[in-house]
Symmetry: C2
Subunit: 90 residues, 2 copies
Amino acid sequence: MPNFHAKVFVSLRPSVLDPAGEAAKSAALRLGINGINKLRIGKSIELDITASSEEEAKNSVEVLSDRLLANPVIENWTFELHQSDLDSDI
Amino acid sequence: MPNFHAKVFVSLRPSVLDPAGEAAKSAALRLGINGINKLRIGKSIELDITASSEEEAKNSVEVLSDRLLANPVIENWTFELHQSDLDSDI
């Protein structure tokens, strides 16, 4: 069965506060980096999945993102999926 | 001054264990999703930065990634940077 490599990005919804991001923004100033207007911290999940078709892999990643990796109440998610012939190096 | 939008990806080095990723992999099985071979959880940081040139923005994001967002002992980082005319919606 073909292997697929997926990258899921989970980010806080724009209306949700991000105290960790704000702290990083302040710390950047103390590091001497000026000009940062916004900074938001999210998650990126890389995974390798074996499935019979790209459609099936896509469905699996969608269920995984929506029910396990992200909390849809406060987070949005997107993903990229592509077929990979070899095991990726994650 | 031009605005830039950057996306920084921070991932654990391949030699570093990822217990959270392992837990998510096991939970996926219980959710009925089979076929996941690897799953690693990292961070993605989105930021808007104002800088006089793309070179300067790139340097700032590099310092930020290496000294603040990632722990280079156990984590790798990469980033994408592009000019953005308007404030992004993060």
